[in-house]
């Protein structure tokens, strides 16, 4: 090839660029880890935090996990994530399956009924008033029920169900299966990949969610993890009140940040392909 020289340069530019992109995505997290492991003595010696500390200590983690507030908030988040995702999946599937059946009478109307809420919404204040009047304030239900269905996910799942061949349903019905059984024993097993995708979207959403707690929860015992982390970040931003100086405040903050992101980072590589697929499914339909 005549162009091989310029081709090589071209390739090199791309590889360097891509490696830089990957580094930009990963380095901030690694630095946060390094900060969380830096003991106070190192901070004093170097006059601040550096990228690779000489000595490390896990004291910041011991300290934040010694605080009952963090453990409790993790439990809250785990409960909300588990129960919330289950509720999400049940309601979303029950909505998506009938809507995927093309011979359902009134299908257009039902679709409009749910899609309209993507175009227009009552907004924050009226929703708050509804949740309040349902008596959900300061209960974990407020973190689960108001967000129980994401219209976008209903549409993802519906469009997947639509790709299942019609003969499948006919033969199942021929065998005398009723709709609930068809859904449970035929449709769901065959749709596992997309069910996973939607379930993971919901799950990550619950783990990361903090705003519904800011809105609906004032009882500190019911704070989810992200809210507790936020409070830690805000608190010691303004003051260095910590009396003992064996652990720098910033190290404890960063330890909390790691606690809030580690579960996702740990499982992320294994579930990444599901997310990408879901994104594309949604994009094609949306």
């Amino acid at each position: 090839m005549v162009t091989s020289r310029s081709d090589n340069i071209f390739n090199a530019v791309i590889y360097v660029f891509l490696v830089l992109v990957a580094a930009a995505a990963v380095f901030p997290l690694l630095y946060v880890v390094s900060m969380s492991l830096t003991p106070y003595s190192e901070v004093v010696k170097n006059g601040g935090f550096i990228v690779i500390p000489r000595k490390i200590s896990f004291e910041a983690y011991e300290r934040i996990f010694g605080d009952p507030a963090l453990g409790r908030s993790m439990l809250v988040t785990l409960i909300v994530t588990a129960v919330g995702t289950l509720v999400n999946m049940i309601l979303t599937t029950l909505a998506a399956y009938p809507l995927s059946r093309k011979n359902l009478r009134g299908r257009t109307f039902f679709l409009l009924y749910i899609v309209f809420t993507m175009l227009f919404s009552g907004g924050l204040i009226p929703t708050y008033l509804i949740v309040q009047s349902l008596g959900m304030l300061n209960t974990l239900w407020a973190l689960i029920v108001p967000g129980a269905i994401a219209t976008f996910n209903v549409l993802i799942l519906k469009s997947f169900f639509e790709t299942l061949p019609e003969e499948l349903f006919e033969s199942a019905r021929m065998d005398g299966a009723k709709e609930f059984r068809i859904l449970w024993q035929v449709v769901i097993p065959l749709s596992m990949p997309s069910m996973m995708t939607v379930g993971l979207f919901y799950m990550v959403g619950h783990w990361n969610s903090f705003f519904s707690a800011v809105l609906y929860i004032t009882d500190t015992n019911l704070y989810p993890l992200q809210v507790v982390i936020r409070n830690m970040l805000l608190l010691s931003q303004s003051s260095e009140l910590q009396a003992e100086v064996t652990v720098p405040t910033a190290a404890m903050q960063m330890a909390a940040v790691i606690a809030g992101s580690l579960p996702i980072i740990a499982v992320y590589p294994f579930i990444q392909k599901h997310f990408t697929k879901g994104m594309l499914l949604g994009a094609v339909k949306g």
Binding site: V21, V32, F120, G122, I125, V257
Partner: protein, 324 residues
């Protein structure tokens, strides 16, 4: 709930004797599918309570809502558009609109091009393991919460302990209060957003590029086109429609400047440049308990958003229709 009720009135009608054949068939259809309707009921109820009741609750924009009398009992505002005029004449109006639109536009402009470039690079990358690794790593930040990302920005940008400020002071300059200054606030919002969604945003462009007819590239290669020329004459024109489509759709939601992100990053000192419609609604409605005014501004945003989204969809269809 209205919907299932409607259905039932429909379904009971055909039952009397000697209905026309059509009605009988309709009834038979509904009956055959009763299980499907039963499945739909929870979802219909949920949408009614958590989506349609709040829309109805927007009438408090025209009332003087107070706690004890509730949505229905509260007296009507005098005059009816009191809260609207109050908002439009307040100094907040122009500030909120400016901030919301600017932050949104900056994110749109500065977020889109890097994502497109990254997608092209992914496509041009001939080493599949490298491509896979970089893809996996670059999508990851998308799944972190804004709280975590705020923590990371403190690690880098804090005036006292931040790494970047350490480098700046070591170089002999003064530390920059990135997170606390009106000068930097919007740039911080835009750059953290880019960090979070660069890789994720590239997915859709990459999918579009992969859909381009490969014979085009082969033909160009035979003709001796360089790879840069192929990018310019095949790849980019090939995804032009997708780019325009996404641009239109994004403009449809231009009033959403990223509520959660701004909420996590902003504070009193940067309200001037960072306060957006959503955050103002939250503070006015739920912190100052001025429910009616908050709902009014919420309604204002929803209404404009509705028109924009409909317009954008129409445009997108028109554009898409002429090409596909």
């Amino acid at each position: 709930m209205e919907q299932p009720a409607n259905l039932q009135t429909q379904t009971t009608k055909p039952q009397p004797k000697a209905p026309t054949g059509q009605l009988r068939k309709a009834w038979a259809d509904l009956w055959k599918m009763k299980a499907l309707y039963i499945m739909l009921i929870p979802c219909l109820i949920w949408y009614f309570i958590f989506k349609y009741l709040p829309m109805y609750g927007l009438i408090i924009s025209f009332k003087d809502y107070n706690f004890s009398e509730g949505i229905l009992g509260s007296p009507w505002a005098e005059p009816w558009n009191k809260h609207f005029t109050m908002f439009f004449h307040s100094p907040y109006f122009s500030q909120l609109m400016t901030n919301t639109l600017l932050i949104s536009l900056y994110k749109l402009l500065f977020g889109m091009f890097p994502a497109i470039i990254l997608a092209v690079m992914f496509f041009e990358c001939r080493v599949s393991w490298l491509k896979r690794w970089v893809q996996t790593l670059s999508y990851m930040p998308h799944f972190l919460s804004w709280i975590v990302i705020y923590g990371i920005s403190i690690a880098f940008l804090s005036e006292t302990t931040g790494l970047i400020n350490r480098w700046i002071t070591e170089a002999g300059w003064n530390a920059v209060p990135f997170l606390n200054s009106t000068q930097w606030f919007r740039s911080i919002l835009v750059s953290t957003e880019i960090w979070k969604d660069l890789g994720w945003g590239a997915i859709i462009y990459l999918a579009a590029i992969s859909g381009i007819d490969p014979t085009l590239f082969e033909a160009a290669k035979v003709d001796g086109a360089s790879r840069l020329r192929m990018i310019w004459h095949i790849t980019l024109p090939g995804i032009r429609n997708v780019i325009v489509l996404l641009l239109i759709l994004r403009i449809g939601s231009i009033l959403d400047a990223g509520f959660e992100q701004v909420f996590v990053f902003y504070h009193t000192r940067v309200y001037e440049v960072g306060d957006i419609i959503d955050t103002w609604v939250y503070r006015t409605g739920l912190e100052q308990m001025n429910f009616s005014l908050g709902a009014t501004v919420g309604l204002f945003k929803s209404a404009i958003g509705f028109v924009l989204v409909l317009g954008a969809n129409k445009l997108a269809k028109k554009w898409g229709g002429s090409i596909w």
